[in-house]
Structures are given as structure tokens and as C-alpha cells.
Amino acid sequence: MGDSISLRVTRYRPDKDREPASQEYDVPLRKELTVLDALNYVKNEVDTTLTFRWSCRMGICGSCGMNVNGEPRLTCATFLSDYAPGPVRVEPLANFPIVRDLVVDISDFLAKLPRMKPWIIRDDDAVLVGEGDGEYLQTPEELEAYQQFSMCINCMLCYAACPVYGLDPDFVGPAAIALAERYDLDSRDHGARERLDVLIEREGVWGCTFVGECTRVCPKHVDPAGAIQRYKLKAATESVKAFLLPRGAR
């Protein structure tokens, strides 16, 4: 392993460039350094104009998602030494419009999340919760039912991996559906029917063709593909009931 590696980074200045181009930087190579460390090295020592998002640098905030050698990755969790001798191609997260350099426009994703009604929806009166116990009880088994889907850090790597979203941004997408499933499976929630109304639409779950790449790239092992397929079965069962059962029974 040499002591430096080349980074091939996408640059795009909206006021100056018609389209993105790549720029190469030599960065130090040590076994503990990540791609994010390399980007910060560039910004601090070489080129302060390089623009990118990052925050916790430990894989929990979901800010630093980018395409490294074509793969959607958290740059804080991607080691330079894995790509030696390089060069390492660092591009903005796929399937999102580029704002500047490595920063993408995530407003579409942010608009989709609240459509899932990602909060506990109750049938009963809200008043009851404040009085009396003021807390909901949940067994470990009930927690386990949805826990995996609650681990999402909104890093959008799954959207970058999803070919359906890349081809049709109307598709509501893996993380959003996993989020809906997280609440549907929560024993405290009664909102499954309301979420179904949103997801049973054409751009809801039905756009998914079970490529499964979203699950493969997820850094938190949420398995959004599994959530989506289970949701399809649930939606299909509800549809059969809607056709077969008389109105009162539904």
C-alpha cells in the first residue's frame, strides 16, 4: 500500500458550468482513513471550494451518502485502502439532481416522508393518553415486529440504488415504504388503513419490481425490499376483502 491515492471527484458550479466534470486530487492513504476523511483533507488543505455534506462521521446521521466507484455508500464508512491503488471515483448520490459538486437536491425525498404519516395514529381519543397512565405498554416481541424498519437513518442510499426511482421519480421509494411499514407494524398504531390509501396508488408500492438493490446497499440492514413486498401482500389482501365483503364488514 503506497502512501497516497488519487480521488476523482465530481465538480459542478451551477453559475459557471453547463455540466459536471471531474477533478483529481492526491490524498494521503492510511489504513484508517475514509473517503470522507479524504474529502475533508482536500477541502482543508488543497481546494476549499469543494462542497459536500457530512456531519457525524460515524454512520448514524445519514448525511454523507455519495456514489463511490459507482456504488452508493456512506463516505464516512468507506475506507480508502479498500480501493488501493485507486483512483477512487467520488460522485454525487445517484438519481438525485446535483446542486453543486457532491451536494444533491433531496427535497423530493423530504416531501415523500410526511406523506407516509410517520407518527402514531390512534383510533381512540387523544385525551385518554394524557390522563391516567400517560404511556403505552409494548412487549419485547411487539417491539421486535417493527424494530428493524425503525433503524433507517434517511441516508437515501436505497434511492440511489433503485433503478425504478432513477427512471421514475414519482415512485415513492424504498425508505418511505419501509417507514410506513415501521408504523403499521407498531402495536401502538392504528393508522394502517390511512397509509394504505397513499401506498395503494400506482406510484406507491406497485412501481417496485423487487430488484432488491435497496436492501443490498442499506448500511443499517433495514431491508426495505422486504418491507415493500410484505406491503404489497397486505394491500392485495385488503383489495380482495374490498371486493368480496359487503360494505358493513370492512
Binding site: D125, L167, E194, I200, T209, A236, S239, A242, R250
Partner: protein, 124 residues
Amino acid sequence: MTQAPAVRRPKRRILPLVWLTFSGGGVIAAVFLPVLVLLFGLAFPLGWISAPDYAHLHAVVTNWLTRLVLLGLFVPMLVHSAHRFRYTLYDGLQLKRKLLIAFLCYGAAMAGAFASLLVLLSMR
């Protein structure tokens, strides 16, 4: 003072039912087709195994239970093919005329289903 939430009536939607048929067709294709392709597609025509005696095969397929089962296998498999191919056209060729593609794909499946019915009924 609170009111009971309004009773929600889910709208009737056909796409979930198409998906269910697609799923069923997928299971049927996975479980029934391999042996049929092996036998009728390769082994019998190429003589690896001697082809079934005409009288015996005729008796098996013209049985009304067999005809019913075959219809129940063919239709879901045709819907499965149409549904999958429709999405392949969207994602593979990035075709934009979505309604036309859907119409052609499911239309072909319906034509195939109708043809299956005709063939199964007209065997004598």
C-alpha cells in the same frame, strides 16, 4: 366531546389483484414448468425418453379435470408474463407510452387466455 371516526371505505382497486395473479402465476411457472419444458420441450421430441403413447396422452388431457387444471395454470402464467414484461418495457427501454404498453401487454394475456379456453374446449 368526541365523535367516532368516519367509517373508511377502501376504494376498489384492480392493480393489487393483478399483482396477486402475477404472484400466483410466478409460483405456478416455477413449480410446473421445469418438468414440462424438460419432458415436452426436450426429452420427448429429441427421443431421450420415448414419447407417451398417443392414446394414453389423449386420455389424460381430454379428461375434464385436466382441462380445468390446465386452464387454472395457463391463465395466471399469462398474466404473470404480461405483468412482468410490461414493467420490463418501462424500466428496460424507458418507454413513456405507459397506458399503451399496459393495454398491449394485458390485452395479449387476455387473448392468450381466450385462446387457451378455445383449445381446451375444442379437444375431442
